[in-house]
Amino acid sequence: MRVGVITFPGTLDDRDAARAVVVGGAEAVSLWHGDADLKSVDAVVLPGGFSYGDYLRCGAISRFAPVMQLVIEAANKGMPVLGICNGFQVLCESHLLPGALTRNADLHFLCRDQEIQIVNNSTPWTNSFKQGEQIVIPLKNGEGSFQCDDQTLAMLEGEGRVIARYVGENPNGSRNLIAGITNAKGNVVGLMPHPEHAINELTGPSAQGLGFFTSILNAMVK
């Protein structure tokens, strides 16, 4: 099982995502933004960071990278894609996911151990969680407020496309405490908090983030 991890200029958590992929049991394949080459991977992770320094808007420039053209095509054909934090922002700018991520409501960058609830465990990235399972993984961003219009919100909720919600106080002003969503096909997932930083208790608040990276193996086995 080969999982591609994309590096854009300014990407920060690519090595951490690759580590999580490996600990989860797959092979991590490094993908360069400038190469239109997915190297025959079975799934793709867009990691966190500040690609292009968050110039213009987070993910706005990364979205036009040569590799993204292939990611969009592959995603439309059903390839599993996980966008974490900045990766989620790139997926929204690419229109693979609806809505947009905006500035945290209190204007501060926020790094905290965040409790979230997995509310859709049918995607290739969440199938190893129990429906409704609560986990603690790091949240660390300045632009994590998920926004969309009422129609989009109704659609996401109505179609069960919210995959994770913040538990407790809303950390950033996201509508309906949305921490992660999926597309209509269910293969593209965007998640604001960072599961790759919760793969063991030595370096993270828990090992509960690993589920995202073991799920993808289950999905491939099927």
Binding site: P9, L12, G49, G53, Y55
Partner: protein
């Protein structure tokens, strides 16, 4: 435009030059003329003036700082000592770690966000330029009174700047300090530390060796950042109406630096550079003269090749520019193609601007005309050395002869009130408001970060080798006794490393003082350096480098002497580290070390406006025995936490609130016991089955030991004072949100 060239300078010896406006004394100007055998060109004048400034030449501190080299115990671990961009130590398994702390105080007062941001940028580049991947940052910060309007102006901007730049670079912030004192009103201290790791073979030095090798400038384009006073030369050259606006503040772009880091590390991995230097203070002037000095001395630079953001810059301004995110490398001709390729991959601007020669001079041309022709050592290293007068200030005897006059809590109600008061004090309160603006997770190797005693990072994912770092200072003690204050800060930082089970290995320092032209301040500085040097010798810890920041004062009032000491240590396996606090009930809680009535310089005294008394005396032999005890006990300690500001009261508060598990203790002479700040004390929690083992260790290392009580419950109970954790938590965590929103 009249370009001032060497040829012109030779024929116009009597031209008046604005050396005083550039900060040079008449005798220094005369010396430059003597060195060159003629008057300097305006470019040369600009170079000498900035490189001979206090900030770059350390002219007031050199005579004192050489003690670090003279009094250093021979340490096999020291791979690169003082004099390079940062010190490097061997941490085992073929790894070398480089770390350094620097100040960016004045710019942060002017423009808090950018001042702090570029402070981080600068120290990170210093680490990168040694050949290392930067792996973490720390930020000891000091502000005026917490509730002062100007603090509300500078603090949020500084925190946002450190976070904004450091987070975007992908560097976890693993610790720091936030201290408030009216002494820093008008002079906030922004000290930034960076640590990096590499293999021994990767170490890079700043030397231009090998005639024919190329001088390559890469990174951001050059603009008019930070030129400041040099613009007086520009107007000289341009005449009226020539110059555009020159920003006095440096503006950083962390994205450019992140890309610079990745590009540089790829370049290093392919062994493409002979020498490298980052462009920090004094920009190109510094980089070229230092690189040339580090080599055989000969270098030719074509200044007109420097890529510019602002085409109106004069040569003098280009030489002085402090535009951020730039590096200068020496590259062999057969490697330049690959070097350029890697820069292209990362979209980094790169230009060959010169070459190393076998001459003895640094020669800089502008469109073919020679505008600088100097022996580089005279610019970079042979600056003036001052032996400034020093005199013990009158206040010393006055304060040392007075006794601290503070109320001592006695009754249960008073004890409880004192604990809550200390818990809520801005200097001791929970700092999550600050630290939650920093990414502590990126790179996935952070083992400890705020509020732990030290920051700890794993450097090998297979062997779990790790390093721990702590930065500490106690300006109150340094004020009362600068010699002891420096030793005590050193001891505290080393102790903070040892509580987690790491062995202290090396030292860096950031010395923040007032004006060196004030003999009293100079005395404080000299005593602090003497104390630190003596302390390092006694403890066998080499000083690997550091930074001096003078002129931190408002008018004639200097800040309290604030030497910040950073200690780095090594832990063989981070999985064996001792955490700062406990999660189980039923553990025994002990206090290691004796408590005396040490109230002078304490937080309790500070809260009662008492700034008199005598500081404790550092007992470094005892501190070293305590460190050995901590390292040996690491294998069975459940938790260990250093006591410092706020004494036992703060230590207990921090321990119980970490995981919300209380303690019940009995304490004789509880009032003094809780508020005293006797150094050399640690709280330790152990499973009761290890009691004999602990007592035996204590007796082996001759450390006093007192059993305080047991862990568990939902309160901090001291004798009959019961403080619910919920109440304690509210007091501890409300302060910062209330102050800063």
């Amino acid at each position: 435009m009249a370009l001032d060239t060497v040829a012109i300078a030779q024929t116009t010896p009597d031209n008046s030059q604005p050396f005083a406006e550039l900060g040079l004394k008449p005798d220094e100007y005369a010396r430059i003329k003597e060195i060159l055998g003629r008057r300097p060109t305006s470019s040369e004048l600009a170079m000498y003036s900035v490189m001979w400034s206090e900030h770059c030449s350390y002219k007031s501190s050199k005579v004192h700082l050489k003690q670090f080299g003279e009094k250093a115990s021979k340490s096999d671990a020291l791979l690169v000592g003082i004099g390079e961009n940062a010190g490097v130590v061997d941490v085992g398994q073929g790894y070398a770690v480089t770390f350094k702390i620097e100040s960016h105080n004045h710019p942060s007062f002017v423009e808090p966000y950018q001042g702090a941001a570029t402070g981080i940028g600068g120290i990170v580049r210093d680490i990168l330029t040694m050949g290392a991947r930067p792996i973490a940052v720390m930020d000891p910060l000091r502000f005026g009174p917490a509730d002062a309007p100007d603090t509300r102006r500078v603090l949020p901007g500084i925190i946002a700047g450190i976070g904004g730049y450091g987070n975007c670079l992908g560097l976890p912030n693993i610790g720091g300090e936030v201290t408030f004192d009216e002494t820093y009103a008008g002079n906030p201290l922004v000290n930034a530390l960076c640590v990096g790791v590499m293999k021994h073979s990767d170490i890079k030095l700043a030397k231009a060796a090998g005639a024919g090798n190329l001088v390559v400038l890469y990174g951001a384009k050059t603009g008019g950042d930070g030129i400041g006073g040099v613009s007086v030369l520009a107007s000289e050259t341009f005449g009226a109406g020539g110059s555009t606006k020159r920003p006095s503040v440096q503006v950083g772009d962390p994205f450019v630096e992140k890309v610079l880091i990745e590009c540089s590390l790829e370049i290093f991995a392919e062994d493409l550079v002979v020498g490298i230097q980052d462009l920090g203070g004094a920009g190109l002037s510094c980089a070229t003269s230092e690189l040339a000095s580090g080599g055989s001395g000969g270098m030719k630079v074509q200044l007109d090749k420097v890529p510019l953001r602002d085409p109106s810059l004069s040569p003098e301004e280009i030489l002085m520019s402090e535009s951020q995110e730039r590096m200068c490398a020496i590259v062999e001709p057969n490697k330049i193609a690959r070097f350029l390729d890697i820069c292209k991959k990362w979209d980094v601007t790169v230009t060959v601007i010169g070459e190393v020669t076998d001459g003895k001079h640094l020669e800089i041309t502008w469109n073919g005309e020679l505008i600088v022709d100097v022996p580089p050592r005279t610019v970079a290293h042979d600056g003036p050395v001052y032996n400034r007068p020093l005199a013990q200030p009158e206040y010393i005897n006055q304060v040392n002869s007075q006794r601290v006059n503070v109320p001592i809590p006695v009754t249960a109600a008073e004890i409880k009130a004192a604990v809550l008061k200390l818990a809520a004090a801005p200097n001791l309160a929970d700092k999550s408001w600050v630290t939650s603006q920093y990414d502590k997770y990126v790179q996935g190797n952070t083992i400890q970060s705020q509020p732990d005693d030290s920051g700890m990072v794993r450097i090998d994912e297979t062997t779990h080798l790790g390093v721990a770092i702590s930065t500490d200072a106690n300006a109150n003690w340094s004020y009362l006794n600068p010699y002891q204050g420096a030793k005590l800060a050193l001891a505290e930082a080393a102790r903070n490393i040892a509580t987690a089970g790491a062995r202290p290995l090396a030292v860096t320092n950031c010395l923040n003082f007032g004006s060196p032209e004030d003999p009293g301040v100079m005395w404080q500085f000299a005593e602090s350096v003497r104390g630190l040097a003596d302390g390092c010798l006694e403890m066998g810890l080499p000083v690997t480098g550091g930074n001096v920041s003078f002129y931190n004062q408002t008018g004639s009032v200097a800040i309290l002497p604030t030497p910040v000491i950073g200690v780095l240590g090594v832990i063989q396996d981070v999985r064996t580290r001792t955490p700062m606090s406990f999660i189980q009930a039923g553990l025994d809680l002990y206090l290691l070390g004796e408590t005396h009535e040490d109230l002078a310089g304490s937080e309790w005294a500070f809260l009662h406006n008492q700034r008199v008394g005598q500081s404790p005396d550092a007992d470094l032999q005892r501190e070293m025995r305590l460190i050995e005890l901590l390292l040996e006990g690491n294998s069975f300690f459940a938790a260990a936490h250093d006591l410092s500001q706020g004494g036992l009261s703060a230590g207990l508060t921090e321990m119980v609130l970490r995981h919300k598990v209380g303690v019940t203790i009995t304490l004789d002479n509880a009032g003094i016991g809780l508020i005293s700040e006797t150094p050399g004390r640690v709280l330790v929690a152990i499973d009761p089955s290890h009691a004999a083992r602990l007592e035996s260790l204590a007796s082996k290392h001759l450390i006093a030991i007192t059993k305080l009580g047991t862990t568990g419950g939902d309160s901090l109970t001291i004798n009959d004072a019961v403080i619910l954790l919920s109440e304690l938590s509210t007091a501890h965590t409300s302060t910062f949100p209330k102050l800063f929103g």
